[in-house]
């Protein structure tokens, strides 16, 4: 499809969107040497040109609203429309974030009620003592969490440089730890789980250089870590902190509170567990919760409720790691999550976990004869599978696209051969899961008979398989490159 730039016609525009031109222009106010030469090469289009272009672009996407989208570890559940209505209210959208600081919360009490209530709700859901809503994405929350761990040890005069991370962790974990100055030591898994023996060996080797452990639970194989208590005790035995990566929180809502289990820091992905839209890759939100002794290190400012029921921001926190985001988090995303929590309540959230896990196990059992299932046991909200002998995960993924299903996550975790990782979520019906499993069975059967046809899939979509080598070598990142 042509780009918006190739639809541009010199001199075409929609008047009345921008104000009337200033007669004397910028030259009347600014010296020549500070001015741009010529206009930027932006599209010159009518409003209808623009509307049609972006409507046609939208039609080239799969989405949760249009397709089953079982992308593992991404929790692509339905995003309720009421959340969008709430987030679009002008009483919220028109609010300048600095207003709250200038007048001590005056004029912003409605928005601050949302933030405060969300923090308290997340505490009740996770069992943590306090939350910050500042982090602007999951990975940003990870950085916040490990920066808090670094600040904690530093405050005690310790030089602890090592962060333990299981080999199956998301790549963001080691990258976030490195940004906070840590050296990453990878822990080998055993039977798909963190092995307490590996932790003992690490403690033997590195002793009190260990600052903490980052773990995802259920882990990236979709399995519940069964040694949680032992792991937490081992780390706490050397006063190292345990970080809970909440990527897979959807599976344990109401079934386990990470605070009760002894985790010290947790980040949540509101765009996963709390149904804020993924937006094609963002914006998300990654609030971070901590246990009591880490509260002083939370990012500043923090929100508080005064005796009279009104809210204000507190900036006086000498041990705080500082500012993670410009203000108090991605408010629009936070508000959507709050609306979702209001709508579901505690009981509704517990049902979320139950049906997410039911759907995943149902698919796992239905696909037993279609795919290889390396961990053939109860899974949590997702599971991993291998493409059966002779077939590639990539080809199965493309075959699914051809039939109108988004593919599961493929080739992650790396330790599973030809890996596919489906995560159906609780909002999908039995009929949808059945249709997906039937389609996959058919793709596998036909792929064995005619592998060349499967290798050519998908057909019937806007494009066929793309030349990724050309993209990387050619580096055409703009219309001008």
């Amino acid at each position: 499809m042509e780009t918006i730039y190739s639809k541009s016609v010199p001199g075409r525009r929609t008047t009345g969107l921008a104000p009337d031109p200033v007669k004397e222009g910028a030259a009347a106010f600014l010296p020549e040497g500070c001015l741009r030469k010529g206009l930027p090469g932006l599209p010159e289009c009518s409003e209808l040109d623009v509307v049609r272009h972006f409507t046609q672009l939208a039609s080239k996407n799969f989405s949760v609203d249009g397709n089953f989208y079982p992308l593992g570890s991404c929790t692509m559940k339905y995003d309720p429309k009421i959340n969008e209505v709430a987030a679009g209210l002008t009483g919220f959208t028109s609010l300048h974030p600095m207003l709250a600081q200038l007048a001590n919360g005056q004029g912003c009490q409605g928005a601050m009620h949302v933030l405060y209530t969300l923090e308290r709700s997340l505490c009740a859901i996770t069992g943590m003592e306090a939350f910050t809503l500042q982090p602007m994405a999951g990975a940003n929350g990870e950085f916040t969490g490990v920066a808090i761990i670094a600040a904690y040890h530093k405050s005690l005069g310790r030089d602890r440089r090592i962060m333990l991370i299981p080999d199956a962790a998301h790549g963001t974990n080691p990258a976030s730890a490195a940004m906070a100055g840590f050296t990453v030591v990878e822990l080998p898994s055993k039977d798909g789980m963190i092995d307490p023996e590996a932790i003992r060996a690490a403690i033997e080797k590195y002793g009190d250089s260990i600052a903490g452990l980052m773990m995802t639970c259920p882990n990236t194989l979709g399995l519940m870590e069964v040694h949680v208590k032992e792991i937490v005790e081992l780390l706490h035995g050397i006063d190292a902190l345990v970080y809970y990566d909440g990527a897979n929180m959807n599976a344990i809502l109401g079934k386990m509170r990470v605070g009760d289990a002894g985790f010290d820091v947790v980040h949540l992905n509101l765009h996963k567990t709390f149904a804020t839209p993924h937006g094609g890759g963002g914006p998300g939100a990654g609030p971070v919760g901590v246990c009591e002794r880490l509260i002083p290190f939370l990012p500043s400012p923090r929100i508080t409720r005064k005796a009279d029921g009104s809210y204000e921001f507190l900036t006086d926190a000498p041990q705080s790691i500082g500012k993670i985001g410009p203000f108090y988090g991605s408010f629009g995303v936070l508000l959507r999550a709050m609306a979702y929590i209001w709508r579901l309540g505690g009981e509704g959230l517990e049902r979320v976990a139950e049906y997410a896990v039911l759907n995943a196990n149902y698919m796992r059992v239905k696909l037993k004869d279609v795919l290889d299932i390396p961990y053939d046991r109860l899974c949590m909200h997702e599971f991993v599978a291998s493409a059966p002998h002779g077939l590639r995960a990539l080809d199965l993924a493309k075959g699914l696209l051809e039939r109108g299903f988004h593919a599961p996550t493929i080739y992650f975790p790396l330790l599973v051969h030809e890996c596919l990782m489906p995560e159906p979520t609780e909002t999908e019906s039995k009929q949808t899961l059945d249709a997906f499993c039937d389609a996959l069975a058919d793709i596998v059967a036909k792929g064995r008979e005619h592998p060349e046809e499967l290798a050519a899939a998908p057909h019937g979509l806007p494009v066929t398989r793309m030349d990724e080598t050309e993209a990387a070598r050619g580096m055409h990142l703009t219309e001008d490159m």
Partner: protein
Amino acid sequence: MPYIPHTEAERDAMLKTVGVASLDDLFVDIAQDLRPKSFLASAGLPEQEVRTLCEELAARNTRVLSFLGAGFYDHYIPAAVDALAGQSAFVTAYTPYQAECSQGTLQAIYEFQTAIARLTELDCANASLYDGGTALFEACTMCVRSAKKRTKIVLDEGINPIWRRMLATYARNLPVDFVLVPLKNGVSDKEALKAAIDDETAGVAVQNPNFFGVVDDYSDVFAAARDKKALSVISVNPVLLSVLKTPGAMGADIAVGEGQPLGQPLDFGGPYLGLMACKKALVRQMPGRLVGRTHDTEGRTGYVLTLQAREQHIRRSKATSNICSNQNLCALRALVYLSLMGPQGLRDVAENSIANAHLAAREIVNGIEGASLLNDAPFGNEVAIRLPVPADVLVQRCLVRHKCVPGYPAGRDFEGMENVLIVACTEKNTEGQVGILLDAIRDVIAWIGQDELCQARG
């Protein structure tokens, strides 16, 4: 339960297929003593009640006449931005890993990258970062990575104090050393900037217009950096780039900025949009997603995520950054906004904002006894004015008495600037609004009694 479609019969059939007796039996791997003793106590609400609750909370926020900017501006957002960027095929998709069913998102990112590269007159741009502050941080680490052993970043004090605080947080445990070069009465001290760039310097970072609204040309500072083999970073306001000398024309290596002015609502602090563009030679050092143009097996043009070897799912702890997403919907909004405005429309927005700020400055200086411009430097859509009263007190009183926020009190971040107010204008702040602003300031100054003034100063 809301959004869970299963009937009881379906649930039971599925449990049977799985081979467990009850839903709770699915959770046998969570030890009984780890089961929660308490959980979120509140009950769920019907949709109508959630809507009413949110509407009531929205109404509790005050609508004000605002001249508050400080890096975040209230420009008009055309109706088509919400309509187009709000399409659920964009909103409820995810990362375009499967290119064949994600061409909508991919092409939009490619077009966004093009728009940002052209606005900044640099070679390429990424798919966006979280916000202007993290974009500036990532630019600083690009400088340090490129310079190998050098760790010093020369920072102009004119960079938004919020972002300078974010830099301190993010770089706390990294080998990056910031050297702050103070402003002179709100204006960059370019000689001091040049003098601070030495053989240890990895990069120099400035902001244009700076926090006080001052517009400058940093070409000579960037030339000095080039002489010392250091990189140049400039933080920009993307709307004003339609008028102001570009990063490319000044010789900058990296441009960053807060993309909020491009079609994003203020939204009490986000989500916002981090912009980043750079010279081609630096593209492999650039963090974040990149989309490239290529062809499919039938020769059709299409788009894919590319140069992923920089990213954390491959490089893990050695990645350029831990970011594994972009502010995709915000970037889409910016692209739609720029497409609707076009080059002339964007310039009209910028020039009207600048003209309104000059009008406001003139009116306040002429109409308020004891008010004067902080300096005689050229300014854009924002101007620093010295007042006869503490700006903080003025702002609070204006808000209470007139529901008007006259600007940002510079004394909150800069010593000796207690009486300085930074007044921002967009195209919305036209003559009529400036008149109301003037009346409000005049009234409050009269109203602030001599005693109260002394108290506030004390």
